[in-house]
Amino acid sequence: MEPRIGVFVCHCGTNIAGVVDVNRVVEAAARWPDVVHAVEYKFMCSDPGQGLVKDAIVKHDLSRVVVAACSPRMHEPTFRKACAMAGLNPYLFEMANIREHCSWVHEDKEAATLKAIDIVRAAVAKARLLEPLQTRFVPVTQKVLVVGGGVAGIQAALDIANAGTKVVMVERAQSIGGHMAQLDKTFPTLDCSACILTPKMVQVAQHPNIELMTYSEVESVDGFVGNFTVKIRRKARYVDEAVCTACGVCIEKCPKKVPSEFDEGMMPRKAIYRSFPQAVPGRPVIDKESCTYFKNGKCKICEIFCEPKAIRWDDQDQVVEEKVGAILVATGMGLIDPHGLSQWGYGRYPNVLTGLEFERLNNATGPTGGRIVLKDGSTPKSVAILHCIGSRDRNHKEYCSRVCCMYALKFAHLIKEKTHATVYNFYIDMRCFGKGYEEFYNRLLHEGVKFVRGKAAFVTDQAANDDEKGKLVVSAESTTLGEVLRVPVDMVILASAVAPQKDAEAVARQFGMGLSPDGFFMEKHPKLEPFSTATDGVFLAGACQSPKDIPDTVAHGAAAASTALSLISRGTVEVESATAEVLTDFCSGCKVCQDVCPYGAISFHEDTKLAEVNASVCKGCGTCVATCPSGAIVGRHFNDRQILAQIDAAFLWE
């Protein structure tokens, strides 16, 4: 029976119709063999648009549907569903991308219209040869892996666990808490960061549904949505968690000091340590790299003082395997390497600090117990906070780091409160977009903080006059004034750019995610699915996706959790239907396919001497199909005939 094809061309408002003459596309399509119905419509993805498809399937007895609109990566599922609702096998649907690949990238209307016609013709050519496929489902493992124990991961883990689903949380540091644990106050409410975060950290540790693995890293990820197998390396702690009482005597007695990561290197920690006093878990670990005993075989002072006898020198890394249904990546953000910021004096002048260094300086648990002082111990009389250092800067990071304006205001407030110093903010634009943020900015104006609209060009200690002697001088144009200012101050704080974690690329690879041009993990859709990734079952939470402040991070974590939960509670998940199939008539068992299959989905049967594809393992990549020298493997939904038909129809070749 000849196929009966319906072609639906979308205007997408003016997105398509503004460049492509959709009527000409429809007219062309109507003339092609087997096309029995061709129409255009303003918004095909809308309810009435989908209705058009459903009605036409019934009314015109369509056996194939082609929608020419946006990318199939956007709306293929939408239209497949519409087809299915009208009783048409969803795999008899084909999408022609005349928006992302045509109207949005071309200006010449004639060329774009001709290209759109070609694109639709190729889709029709493929559609003609489509075959129905059976949709298949497999059960979802009722457990979620949360990678990263910052506030995003904490929020997500608690939401999931509270819904009754098991969670494994993996954190590579000794403690959970992330960057938020490093902060003193939070903008704009000036809540004590530790006061609001630590209870949540404790909840995570005590939750019956959460298994917490700190000092651990994900080693490998296998499987697919609903059925991941994850290997986790639990680094040797050299402290028996079951025996340790977290009394802290060992830490006190340990003679070896190294710079503390948690304190941005501004104060030391011991070789046996917990990241900070309220660390969760509270039991310390021994950092093998710095421990004197591991270095030269002598010391063991911690063991001597440990009453419960919890030190285990023979502890080994362990690799554990977990099966999970969904993965939530919440690995957070890093900061730009400040050493590239030399014109602003970082690394050259001791009283030039990064934002996070100032956080620790200002923190009661920090190096000065929260006193804001210069390197010589004296209190600054004037402080400059420089915005957009490395952000919004093509020489460094092109994006806005999103948190700096607000934390700069917070710093200004805290400095005024604690030291009564004069505080200058040098900014390009004040971006105070959140709830209560603009009000906070106003409050700071009331407090008398000085704002200069102009980016700091450089910081120098070269005095041009007596007022500048012994000071750090910030040079900037006040662009509102049209005057170049030189402002002598005692301390400079750089609102240095938020950056992707240094190992973001490797992590993205591990979880099958992509990176956006800015280096953060790429979401599935920037508007509608900012917490999903291109890999089904892998979700994003927090600042690993883009710079975020705490409220946004928490919201993002909760959203990712609910998306993961909806997958978990669905119970089953659709797996690839477009798998490969061996044509036994032609297979001679040459085994080449077995080597090329990335998933080991093909096995060789000794008795029949034939290859066989395990459909529940096959992901439908088609590598074996292209490789088979005997033409004995068919790739469903992307078979040779279909692809050749597309190539044949790609242009009007004559």
Partner: protein, 332 residues
Amino acid sequence: MGEEKKKLQLALYWAASCGGCDVAVLDVNEKILDIAAAADIRLWPIAMDYKYKDIEKWADGEIDVCLFNGAVRNSEQLHLARLLRQKSKVMVAFGACAAFGGIPGLANLHSRKTIFEAVYGYTASTVNPEGTTPQPTLKVPEGEVHLPDFFDDVYALHQVVPVEYFVPGCPPTPDTIMTAVNAIVTGNLPPVGSTIASNKSVCDDCKRKKSDKPKVEAFHRPQEIRIDPEICLLEQGLTCMGSATRGGCGALCPSVNMPCRGCYGPMPNSLDVGADALAAMTSIVDAGDEKTAREKAGALHDPLGTFYRFTLPVSMLRRAPKPVQGGGPPTL
């Protein structure tokens, strides 16, 4: 049934071929007597004298089966192909040349002009100071003499006349020949268009050991390595066409340490034999980065000649393009 069954009327013809196919018919040994018993051999240029006139005198369809070997590359061969087609009920493309163009088909990488330039011009053994090339027509005092016109392209038989069956091989093995003959004699014929050989590849008959995950470390030519008689030749880095080639030969070449060269032609479901072989052989090259891939897979010598040794005229691209000169149809 008192009346003796009418003997099968058989014709054998050779076009652009080496004669091997005809020798192969003799190679069935004593079974040739069975053929002789079952059939009247009406035409067999290698063994019997004949004239065009004799053939022309036959009634249409008088011949039951014509085994036509050799490719078609000149006007005489085309004429005989058409003539025998007319006189025969069943036309069989016999051997790789008739079925796929065969080794003469590699001439499709050139044109008549460049072939003549080489053959009558600059090959080492050519002495032709006048630069004489064959002309289809030549006036001599006695009148006009004619030579067959040499085409730009080499054709497989089915590309010039309809063909009922294909018997592949360079040459077809005795088994293949007898399978074909028996089918014809008994009238137990497969559907028109069939190839009288296996639907599986040469690997199906090959006794060599294969790994579960075959790998190619490096490509070699047979003379460059000491070939292990037990192990799959492809895994030893030889460009064995076995997996991309229709079986039926009994994997003769691999059984004597020679990689399959593909004379039984593409697999039934093949898009293009060169693409098949190339994808399979290079996909399993042990290379994890671009540089290694280029070094190892790029060392595959003469992919075109290797993959299309017998099949260029029936391949997807069929020939090399001719220089653009005013367009128009190609010269025959």
